[in-house]
């Protein structure tokens, strides 16, 4: 893994209060609580694993710890889990759906 990926996995993210997530049947849907009209393109459909990751973004666990939790819960290789985690966080950051948690002392 590259040094920058390692750095990104050390970061801690928290779900933004401007997003609401719901599981409906087999789907997990994330909806933005926009200030103005809703942007329908900002609605995200999360896979089972992505929904699990979303629920782990509690502002306390680092990316590495979230990936560990994914590995405990799902049959997936670490490389793949780390790559998918970083991609998901990147998407969530673009949608302003997560906030970087303050570094703990």
């Amino acid at each position: 893994m590259s040094r920058s990926a390692q750095g990104r996995l050390a970061e801690v993210w928290a779900r933004s209060a401007r997003m609401v997530g719901r599981r409906i049947g087999d789907e997990y849907v994330l909806v933005p609580l926009a200030e103005r009209g809703a942007d329908l393109d900002s609605i995200l459909n999360l896979s089972r694993v992505a929904a699990f990751v979303w629920e782990q973004l509690d502002g306390a666990k680092s990316g590495g710890q979230v990936v560990d939790a994914v590995l405990e819960q799902f049959e997936v290789e670490r490389d793949r889990a780390e790559r998918d985690y970083l991609e998901l966080v990147e998407t969530l950051v673009e949608l302003d759906a997560v906030k970087r948690a303050p570094k703990r002392a």
Binding site: V20, G25, L33, A38, I43, L44
Partner: protein, 321 residues
């Protein structure tokens, strides 16, 4: 019958049927008539926006208005209003303008602006932009708006067993899980409130700006048994004039709106309800805290249903490729 004529006939029939329902709404009629009687002084100029069958325009003339302009966009209703004005003997004082109330151009010469542009959900018929424009451009200083304020009132309610198939011929939870995120109309006979209604928000039409988003509204309700709560009913309370209020909870042609909720735990507790009534991002959330400390919260929005359906559509498209 030729196509356009047939279409006009169908439009006339449905429009008249719709207005007949409103004309038969005695509570609404009495309240608006009282408000006009209070507001229309002899010699006044009155503007009726979205005039419909023309009853308020014609009544204003009968109350002594010197000049009444009735604005109505439906072509088939223009002769209906004109006939009513003739029948009432006020045709010389009622001018019918066929135009959309949102775009009509008039002078600032009116002492009273009346517009029954209140929908089941209060604002979906363009009440805010139409009244803001009328207030800014057509209403004289010191003039009156009818209605002058509109509020949303809410209460937790039982929900009649109507989601899914009745009788249950086959499982329909897939549909029910989607409809749990969609507001629907509730017939007043189905509205069994489990706590007194509380005002969610109130918009003063004398000051409101249509560009402003409606504030996210919150209310607290104490319930004896949360298990009985199937949704939040929302209805409209209009202030038509000093001391003249009209509520659409029951006894009018309007229908309350039901915001469905997922099942809550059994027992007494407090419901904290948060509602975003802005059409493009309609959402309602509930947080329940039971007397024994149990907690439950959930958010609902048509956007969740859209997310589910959109994913299914995308899967269908990729399967066809």
């Amino acid at each position: 019958m030729a196509g356009p004529a047939k279409a006009s006939l169908a439009r006339l029939a449905s429009t008249l049927a719709y207005h007949q329902v409103m004309l038969a709404d005695a509570r609404r009629n009495r309240a608006f008539a009282r408000a006009l009687a209070r507001r229309v002084r002899p010699g006044a100029n009155v503007l009726d926006l979205g005039s419909g069958s023309g009853v308020w325009a014609v009544l204003a003339a009968r109350l002594g208005a010197r000049r009444v302009v009735a604005v109505e966009r439906e072509a088939v209703l223009v002769p209906v209003i004109e006939a009513l004005a003739r029948e009432a003997g006020v045709a010389d004082r009622v001018e019918v303008v066929r135009a959309d109330a949102r775009h009509v151009r008039l002078r600032r010469e009116f002492d009273v602006v009346v517009g029954e542009l209140v929908g089941n959900e209060a604002f979906e018929e363009g009440l805010l932009p139409v009244f803001e424009r009328a207030r800014e451009r057509f209403l004289r200083r010191g003039g009156a708006l009818v209605p002058e304020a509109v509020a949303l009132v809410a209460a937790p309610v039982r929900v009649p067993p109507r989601l899914g198939l009745t009788p249950p011929l086959l499982p329909a939870t897939s549909v029910a899980s989607l409809t749990a995120h969609v507001p629907s109309n509730l017939h007043p006979s189905e509205l069994h409130a489990l706590a007194p209604g509380r005002e969610l928000l109130r918009i003063d039409l004398r000051r409101a700006r249509s560009g402003d988003a409606l504030p996210v509204a919150r209310a607290r309700f104490r319930v004896k048994d949360a298990k009985a709560v199937g949704g939040i009913a929302v209805w409209v309370r209009m202030r038509l004039g000093p001391g003249i209020e009209l509520e659409t909870r029951a006894g009018t042609h309007w229908l309350p709106t039901l915001l469905p909720l997922e099942p809550l735990p059994r027992g007494p507790g407090v419901l904290e309800v948060e509602v975003d009534w802005n059409a493009a991002r309609r959402r309602w959330s509930v947080a329940f805290e039971g007397a024994r400390g149990e907690r439950r919260s959930a958010s609902h929005s048509p956007l969740f249903a859209w997310g589910v359906v959109r994913a299914a559509l995308a899967r269908g498209r990729s399967a066809r490729r």
